[in-house]
């Protein structure tokens, strides 16, 4: 079968999206993306690359080393965004390392992965795709692969307590306790900024409030921040290594443990990846209920953001209604699923138990009361001139940062980029109903505040519409996990979590997870804060940090 045959059959799919509302999908459906990509590849190398096509718009390309290095700059010119870069050992018979370079073109459904075989060291693409910098450091820590021309060779998630030449994700390392270095000699090198009047403020890892650990090093001249460098990964718990060897059912709770307030989204992502591998068809009622759960998570997470932003400017009067609403939503979560954080409800194939009918019937009533209170609280916030004064023009994130760093979620939408996985690559019941997109251009804290408030409203509307059309039926697909010991395969799942685009890649061998790669939106979005605070004063930093509300746990894994 030649390449051209494959090209004619794989047109760009909008994944069965039915445009039921008058929302804007900013895509150009007339350009066949796959043809364009294969055209690029053919143009550069003249050879035809090997394409492995999967069922759900995932394309894996294997080119040789030379062709790959020629393709990368062209991809950058054409506007492809690097959404992940990870390493797998012993992939499909290749006993050495296989690097996966995952790209997407904004607005299009397809996910393109370029595979590269590596033995011990290779070259870096971080000068062309800046987000590759952190991924490469992560691979170096996990597997020991050297990127010879990388400009940043510091350790990422293994801090000084870990011994030299310790690479946990190698298959040769069996998971278990290790001897850690008591008094490490080498300190992490931060960028030094010298000059008259410049001084450094180190903050963290233990912070003054009830918040997760992370280190921030400011270089300030008086009050305005001149430079910020962050150092995270204090919460590295080794989730990817823990997942290896577990069955998919056992791994769901691990996916939930990645980040507590994105548990439903990560569990859904993991389950979707497994369902795609094992070709399990999820019943319609389960899809609808999953979306209700995901949107509830979005609501309580964003409410926490709004409340936190008000607290960080010292405005408790405005923060309290949002806290009250969030607590009410958490209690609703408990009534519906038995867990305030929606944990333990998703399984591969659907949901573990059905949501009680009585609570589902009361949900629309609750949501209507909620909307009323939310609007009042929002009005009170916006009516305050001191709030607007603190929020407007603070912590601006420019639009030019979005593609190179792969910024996603409300912070990207507040800076003018209309990307949303629920619209670009719809999954589950989002194929039938799409949420209303909210985009602002300025990219400051006020824009993020408004975008998050809009998203809460959109989520409430979405849940109400889903509840109206809720079908009856089974809530979990019949899948015999015992006979599934022959399950093998690999697949991506992209989910729109409250903070942005979460990526899950699962590789099953003989029914157990051989490699689980999860990359939450926070991993990419954290790099934006270094740009957002420049020029702002130090007291505005907690506000900017809370307006982004990124997950430390989701980054550190």
């Amino acid at each position: 079968m030649t390449n051209s045959d494959q090209n004619t059959e794989c047109f760009p799919t909008l994944a069965g999206l039915r445009l039921t509302d008058n929302h804007q999908i900013l895509m150009n459906p007339t350009i066949p993306v796959t043809q364009e990509t294969t055209k690029i590849l053919n143009d550069i190398s003249g050879k035809q690359s090997q394409i492995i096509r999967m069922n759900n718009n995932e394309f894996y390309f294997y080119q040789g080393e030379e062709e790959f290095l020629k393709t990368v700059p062209v991809l950058s010119q054409k506007g492809f965004v690097l959404i992940s870069l990870f390493c797998v050992q012993d992939f499909e018979g290749n006993l050495d390392f296989t690097l996966f370079y995952v790209f997407r073109l904004n607005g299009f459904t397809d996910v393109f992965t370029f595979i590269r075989h590596v033995v011990a060291e290779t070259t870096s693409i971080a000068t062309i795709f800046p987000s590759a910098c952190w991924y490469e450091r992560e691979i170096r820590d996990g597997f020991g692969i050297e990127f010879t021309d990388a400009f940043d060779k510091r350790r990422l998630f293994l801090h000084e307590a870990y011994p030299e030449n310790f690479h946990p994700l190698l298959k040769s390392f069996r998971n278990g306790k290790i001897q850690f270095v008591e008094n490490p000699k080498e300190a992490y090198t931060f960028k030094q900024v010298d000059g008259e009047g410049v001084y450094q403020i180190p903050v963290g890892p233990v912070h003054a409030g009830i918040i997760e650990p992370g280190h921030f090093r400011f270089s300030v001249i008086g009050e305005p921040v001149f430079n910020l460098e962050i150092r995270l990964f204090y919460k590295h718990r080794g989730i990817e290594k823990l997942a290896e060897g577990k069955s998919p059912l056992e791994c769901v709770s691990l996916a939930e443990a990645v980040s507590g307030d994105e548990s439903a989204a990560n569990a859904a992502g993991f389950c979707m990846a497994v369902e795609q591998i094992c070709e399990i068809e999820v019943p319609v009622r389960a899809e609808y209920l999953r979306v209700v759960v995901l949107e509830l998570e979005r609501i309580y997470s964003l409410l926490g953001d709004l409340a936190g932003m008000a607290v960080d400017i010292g405005f408790a009067l405005v923060a309290s209604p949002f806290f009250i609403l969030r607590e009410e939503v958490l209690r609703q979560n408990d009534k519906l699923t038995g867990s305030r954080f929606l944990k333990g409800i998703m399984v591969p194939g659907g949901l573990k138990t059905d949501l009680p009918d009585k609570s589902l019937k009361r949900l629309p009533v609750f949501l209507k009361k909620f909307s009323h209170m939310f609007e009042q609280a929002f009005e009170r916030a916006i009516a305050s001139s001191s709030l607007i004064d603190r929020f407007a023009t603070t912590g601006r994130i420019k639009r030019e940062l979005i593609s190179p760093l792969n910024l996603t979620g409300p912070l990207a939408r507040a800076s003018g980029s209309p990307a949303d996985i629920r619209l670009d690559k719809p999954y589950g019941a989002y194929k039938n109903f799409a949420p209303k997109l909210s985009v602002r251009k300025k990219g400051d804290v006020l824009s993020r505040f408004e975008v998050k408030a809009d998203e809460i409203r959109a989520s409430v509307n979405l849940i109400l519409r889903f509840l109206e059309k809720m079908p009856e039926g089974p809530i979990c697909a019949e899948y015999d996990y015992d006979s599934g010991t022959q399950a093998r395969g690999y697949s991506f799942a992209l989910v729109e979590a409250p903070r942005g685009q979460n990526l899950h890649w699962v590789y099953l061998k003989n029914g157990v997870v051989d490699r689980y790669k999860v990359r939450t939106a926070s991993f990419c979005n954290w790099q934006a804060i270094e740009h957002a605070v420049i020029g702002n004063i130090v007291p505005d930093f907690p506000l900017i940090n809370k307006s982004l509300n990124l997950s430390y746990a989701g980054t550190d894994l």
Partner: protein, 170 residues
């Protein structure tokens, strides 16, 4: 220039919400009685995350929200370990955080108590077998009370604190 007289004509901003929880109020009243016996007027708590997923932190911070509002019972969350009586630790201690945890504990003045909140702080929870984690908080610090749960709800945390305060007099 705002007309000060308009303040009288504005709608009032205080409102009552119907979420009075009798059990919580009773528990709170008991705590308020117990705290002065050992802790002077108030219990100062420092929270420390040594490697959890964020949910336990959210539940602890929910203790300060209007539904629970533990400040009226005499419990306050402080910014520095030097002001604290109790260290509330969440998360299985990751290797990257061992130093920070030890330093925070040493910065607290005596008498001090350590409470491990959440399954992962009690015994490592789901991260028990990981290379990156020491296991529960008791591997580094002397723990006085463990509050299990994934995550424990704010009421459960409050019950645990009450038990700690009650036993503190011994």
């Amino acid at each position: 220039m705002v007309n000060p007289l308009s303040f009288f004509l504005r709608p009032k901003v205080t409102e009552t919400f119907e979420f009075r929880d009798e059990e919580l109020e009773a528990l709170g009243a008991e705590i308020k009685k117990e705290i002065p016996k050992v802790f002077g007027r108030s219990l100062a708590i420092r929270e420390l995350d040594s490697g959890s997923d964020n949910s336990t932190e959210i539940e602890i911070s929910n203790l300060g929200t209007p539904h629970y509002d533990v400040e009226r019972f005499g419990i306050s969350f402080v910014a520095s370990p030097r002001h604290a009586d109790v260290l509330l630790v969440t998360g299985a201690v990751t290797l990257n955080m061992v130093d920070a945890v030890k330093k925070t504990y040493e910065a607290m003045p005596f008498p001090k108590f350590v409470v491990a909140v959440g399954d992962d702080a009690c015994d490592g929870g789901i991260y028990k077998d990981s290379y990156a984690v020491l296991g529960g908080v008791d591997k580094v610090l002397p723990v006085d009370m463990k509050i299990p749960g994934n995550p424990p709800s704010p009421k459960e945390i409050l019950c645990g604190l009450f038990a700690l305060v009650k036993n503190a007099s011994q």
